[in-house]
Symmetry: C2
Subunit: 390 residues, 2 copies
């Protein structure tokens, strides 16, 4: 069975829903007071990051694999992906008792490759770039058979993703605006097809990231737009907008701190658009949090950046007289103003430091920007000349 480059109908999506039931999860909708207040309209979050394997992709993969003939199942499935699609195909194949072979570039993060293996798939490293893995997968299918599972240029895959739309309409019948990330476009095409068929008046906004290059929303960083999904999306969607990495970072931190949800960059673009006032429309807005697979070291960087922007870190440098007790005096002042010290660097040598003085660099955890300013003012009042580094 070749890949079906046809748009699914509502009936296809309803059938998909039957097929994935009891395999993929029905994900919860999270009511968010903070997001509603910040965005000036009611916001509820479709927590698809809590889906099996941590992303929506299992819906499409399960639906696709469930439509294979017994012969096709016996021959196994093949995919090229180092990310959510690869893991979804691996997981769906195991659930349905099908062999899966996933081609990944050998630059892929080991954690993702291991996730595919843990779900029971074989993996094959080939070439440095994604395109190399894709070529190898297609050659393998050509030479040895098996069904290649495309991540979005496939009617059954798209119909699977569309089940989110039907689910959402049952969970939130009052929804007025839906925000959907666009990478390859399969998620947006599936959901928009379902929504337009059942509730044509709902405002549907597609969101892109990294249109001019690198983005932390790596899950939707697609170099070439699909000539299958994009023309269809242009018809179905009310608007296609883009968000910046700065906006995405802020959304990730807020989701973590207030909704208690870990959301990857691609999954946070809807919240980013709402916070930035880019979503348009009115009434209840629901961003689709499409996945939660963010590298933890990346998450730490994003959090640190977010906290610094929010005034939750303060880094200052000052000079103290080189006498016993001077550092303690300075730290006592900081403590009195409730600054929480994380690190103290003490420099006794350096071109700009007079012999009788030492230089101190202090990193503090603060409450907010107002607290930073209050600390700086107190230092000034006590005669310290302070340079703010961050």
């Amino acid at each position: 069975m070749a890949t079906q480059r046809t748009a699914p109908t509502l009936a296809d999506i309803q059938e998909a829903r039957q097929r994935i039931q009891g395999i993929a999860e029905e994900t919860p909708v999270y009511i968010s007071e903070t997001f509603s207040r910040r965005c000036g309209r009611e916001v509820r979050l479709k927590a698809e990051n809590l889906q099996r394997t941590g992303a929506f992709k299992v819906r499409g993969a399960v639906n696709k694999l469930a439509t294979l003939s017994p012969e096709e199942r016996a021959a196994g499935v093949v995919a090229a992906s180092a990310g959510n699609h690869g893991q979804a195909v691996a997981w769906a194949a195991r659930e349905l008792g099908v062999r899966a072979l996933i081609f990944v570039p050998d630059t892929a993060p080991m954690a993702k490759v291991e996730a595919c293996r843990n779900y029971g798939a074989e993996t094959e490293m080939s070439g440095e770039y994604f395109e190399d893995a894709l070529t190898a997968a297609l050659v393998h299918v050509e030479e040895t058979g098996g069904t290649f599972i495309h991540p979005y240029e496939d009617q059954f895959v798209v119909a699977g993703q569309g089940t989110i739309g039907l689910e959402l309409l049952e969970q939130e019948p009052e929804v007025a605006t839906v925000l959907i990330p666009i990478g390859g476009g399969g998620l947006a095409l599936g959901i928009a097809t379902a929504l337009r068929a059942v509730r044509p008046e709902v405002r549907i906004v597609g969101i892109q990231a990294g249109v001019d290059g690198y983005t932390i929303a790596d899950g939707i960083a697609v170099k070439v737009p699909s000539d299958f999904t994009m023309p269809l999306l242009e018809d179905l969607l009310d608007d296609i907008i883009s968000v910046t990495d700065e906006e995405i970072s802020e959304a990730i931190v807020l989701l973590l701190e207030r909704a208690k949800l870990v959301v990857e960059g691609a999954g946070a673009v809807g919240v980013a658009a709402l916070l930035a006032g880019k979503a348009g429309g009115s009434g209840l807005a629901v961003p689709i949090l499409s996945g939660g697979n963010i590298d933890p070291t990346m998450l730490i960087s994003v959090m640190r950046h977010g906290l610094t922007v929010a005034g939750r870190y303060l880094v200052v440098r000052t000079q103290l007289a080189d006498r016993p007790g001077e550092l303690i005096k300075f730290l006592s002042l900081v403590a009195a103003e409730r600054g929480n010290v994380i690190s103290v660097e003490h420099h006794r040598e350096g071109m700009d430091i007079p012999v009788s003085e030492t230089e101190v660099e202090l990193t503090l955890v603060t409450r907010d920007e107002a607290h930073c300013l209050q600390l700086l003012a107190a230092m000034g009042e006590h005669g310290y000349t302070v340079e703010r580094l961050r």
Copy 2:
């Protein structure tokens, strides 16, 4: 109406469920393949961290406030808490149209005080310690009226928390072991009462933290065990165990990375106990993830620590010949082995460094401990003498 130091019955908990319906959320159960594999038994997570205000406490607060007479409502409610209980009372009071006054020590994190205010409560700072705020709250009630809401020594509060037990039995009828954090003991008492009444054979384990001092599970760090809840718990529970901060940290990181859920220390103790093999019993185990209100700077520390333990960071120091190109040669070797450099520190001066050499300290993101060893071996093979710092 004074505080009711009586254990609730199943009927009380069923009534509580009626009262909180449509106000507090029915929280989802998350199916966790990774946790099941790691713990060697089926594990599902009761995601009470996704409850309104981020913790279970709203169940008890809503139930308590809903039982007040019109006169009591008019006089308002008072609580002493800088944490989840204070926020829950503030939130429940606003939902039910009651005035709330929350006493907090003036050392309380500003973020928590502001959360109470955002929910519409008045706050009053009084004294340095929690006990000071408690005393001030009781004096205020004595002098000016209003109902003091105790966080756990109250039949209606405990009955509210018990609704989690009824909900869980409907969501997971096959549950064999339930793990519940014990701080004041109200959560464990409520849930255990419900479970024992409906499914007496379920194994119920209470979990404490910080029994010998400081704990990152600050939500359950209670200095003096309650003489109301503890004797009842000793009767109802099959076991009371304790976990270490190291075990809790590992659980927090795993919940974040694999379940995409932000869980505070107190909320992670059940998972910690399972991972450490301390839970006992067999069959489906469900830890109650009681809350998600962890300070983000604390979360970053826990994550960094967790990643270091898991071999996801490597810090090495070595000496290079002080010639152009030597640093590039060393970094190329690291790149070839797929180490991801986060920082390079270059020291040209120092007592132990020969004049013809410079010292380099490298911090790398690695895949796992095996990857660390592989990097160290490659450095050794190429003639570098390397000291591993972390």
